[in-house]
């Protein structure tokens, strides 16, 4: 079976002051299977966002390529939904209009748009706020709206860049469970970036640990916990062992290597 997403020797350098080049990503090789949920952790600046933006088609790699369904990525596409850390809702549109944005582009009829949007708004629990502007929503509600907007265009792949980073612990846990519930139903392929080792282990079937300077893949940790994941699992000894393993890989890369 061909992988859903395949990073092939992806390298990215940035021009910095003068003519020096900064290597943000060095020779990244990674295959993500269809329907898999992987999380990516690593120290700040190790190239997580860069890798995701290349897969999203928002940034071009300096060399190498990302294949999606064996086709090289050259730009963004509606089959790859992206959820940004900063929500990126259009502030002049209501929740419903935000969710309908991608549907308008794909040429859906008005009634169809409305039906699909309302379905996903309901799924993320924002029905009562469908006509509200983003400025009236809390951070967690904004993030759920962003998730509904990405889901509405029915992407087979979800690329999420620290989507829950700015949320309080409780909202975060709720959104994690909601995300897992939706994923179990629809089995989209998910690449989820996070700073939080707990979150990385709780969500993923594989945790990709990256290292910095230069940004590169450091270690892949398989998470052999069954789905659905439950709150009790977070307290189990297997969970804490996995968490420790990922923790060591992130914070003491030399010792764990």
């Amino acid at each position: 079976m061909t992988p859903k997403i395949s990073f092939r020797n992806v390298r990215k350098t940035f021009e910095i002051a003068g003519n020096a080049a900064f290597t943000a990503l060095e020779g990244l090789n990674l295959d993500i299977e269809d329907g898999e949920f992987i999380t990516v952790v690593g120290p700040s600046g190790c190239g997580k966002s860069t890798a995701m933006n290349i897969a999203a088609g928002l940034t071009a790699p300096s060399s190498g390529q990302v294949l999606v369904d064996d086709v090289s990525v050259t730009g963004p596409g509606p089959e790859r939904g992206v959820i940004f850390q900063q929500y990126a809702l259009f502030p002049w549109l209501t929740v419903r209009e935000n969710v309908e944005f991608g549907l308008t582009i794909s040429g859906k009829s008005k009634a169809e748009r409305r039906r699909i949007a309302d379905h996903f708004i309901d799924l993320v629990g924002l029905t009562d706020f469908a006509n509200s502007l983003p400025k009236t929503l809390s951070g967690g509600m904004k993030q759920r709206c962003a998730i509904a907007r990405a889901y509405a265009v029915n992407p087979k792949i979800l690329l999420m860049d620290e989507p829950f980073g700015a949320l309080d612990a409780l909202t975060r846990v709720q959104l994690q469970d909601q995300l897992l519930a939706m994923w179990s139903k629809e089995r989209r392929t998910v690449m989820f970036i996070t700073h939080d080792v707990d979150e990385a282990v709780y969500l993923a079937s594989r945790v990709v640990v990256m290292a910095a300077r230069p940004g590169r893949l450091h270690k892949v940790v398989d998470v052999d916990l069954p789905y659905p994941r439950t709150e009790e699992m977070r307290l189990s000894s297997e969970f804490s062992e996995l968490r420790n393993e990922v923790w060591r890989a992130v914070y003491h890369p030399a010792a764990a290597a």
């Binding site: 999203a56 088609g57 928002l58 730009g75 963004p76 596409g77 509606p78 790859r80 939904g81 992206v82 940004f84 900063q86 990126a88 809702l89 259009f90 502030p91 002049w92 549109l93 944005f101 991608g102 582009i105 794909s106 502007l133 983003p134 400025k135 907007r149 265009v153």
Partner: protein, 268 residues
């Protein structure tokens, strides 16, 4: 009214002094203006300063209003402002978008905009009169220039300040350049454009009055200039106050439109 409201207000707002609510502020505004007019009346009727009394100005205003002169002057000034201002905005917005969207356009247009911005529009009047004659054209041109220059920079600033993540969000939802322009760039830069419109209108208004002082056969500025020849202070006051009131009304209208158009903004 305000008293009744504070009676029923929750604990937190009940602590607020009675006069700091919106109605209280308006009341203070009115009292301040009334006191100002009374002071004006006092110092002028006792001859402390050689200016006309409020009554003399009101009388002159009534005479001018009845003869229709006040209205025709105001109309002449407003017509010039609106023509020049509308033309300025209509040209400035597309040019500003062009400058923000295409680096080449920016590189070509920016030096001209920056250069002409440093010249007060009034300084163009001699040139405009020599090249365009003495009728409406030179005045409208100068007003056009004043509103164009302030709006074009604001629009361009708006375009280049659009949040990149919003552009990326639109792109990953499948938007092409045209859709991004229409559905992201335009609404996102609207608050900036409205700032430009407001500044542009203010600049147009001060320019028209000054232009009429220099070269015109009608308008509030022209009337003042005539009155100056005859030491007719009440007429000068009538014109000045009319200019102030009309300027204030126009500014408030733009602000009202702005608050409707950009109601989605998170304001502090």
């Amino acid at each position: 009214m305000a008293v009744v409201e504070t009676e029923h207000a929750p604990e937190a707002t009940r602590q607020a002094p009675l006069l700091s609510g919106p109605l209280g502020m308006l009341a203070i505004n009115i009292v301040a203006v009334v006191i100002g007019v009374i002071l004006w009346g006092l110092v002028t009727s006792y001859g402390v300063v050689g200016l006309p009394t409020p009554m003399a100005v009101v009388t002159q205003a009534v005479i001018q209003a009845e003869s229709g002169l006040l209205w025709s002057d105001a109309l002449a000034s407003l017509a010039r402002v609106f023509t020049g201002f509308a033309l300025g905005i209509i040209v400035a917005i597309p040019v500003g978008f062009l400058m923000g969207w295409y680096r080449i356009a920016r590189a070509i247009i920016e030096p001209y905009v920056q250069f002409f911005r440093t010249i007060p529009p009034l300084a163009i009047i001699p040139l405009a009169i020599v090249t365009m004659g003495i009728d409406e054209m030179p005045k409208i041109f100068v007003i056009f220039l004043a509103s164009f220059l302030s709006s074009v920079v604001a629009t361009y600033q708006g375009v280049i300040s659009v949040d990149r993540t919003l552009l990326n969000a639109a792109r990953v939802l499948g938007a092409n350049d045209f859709t991004i322009f229409r559905r992201v760039i335009v609404p996102a830069s609207l608050p900036y454009i409205m700032v430009g419109v407001r500044i542009g209108l203010g600049a147009s208004w001060s320019t028209v009055v000054a232009a009429e002082l220099i070269a015109a056969q009608s308008g509030l500025g022209f009337r003042m200039q005539q009155a100056q020849l005859y030491y007719d202070l009440p007429t000068i006051f009538v014109s000045l106050i009319s200019i102030g009131i009309l300027g204030l009304i126009m500014d408030r209208i733009v602000m009202a439109i702005d608050s409707v158009l950009t109601a989605w903004q998170e304001k502090l």
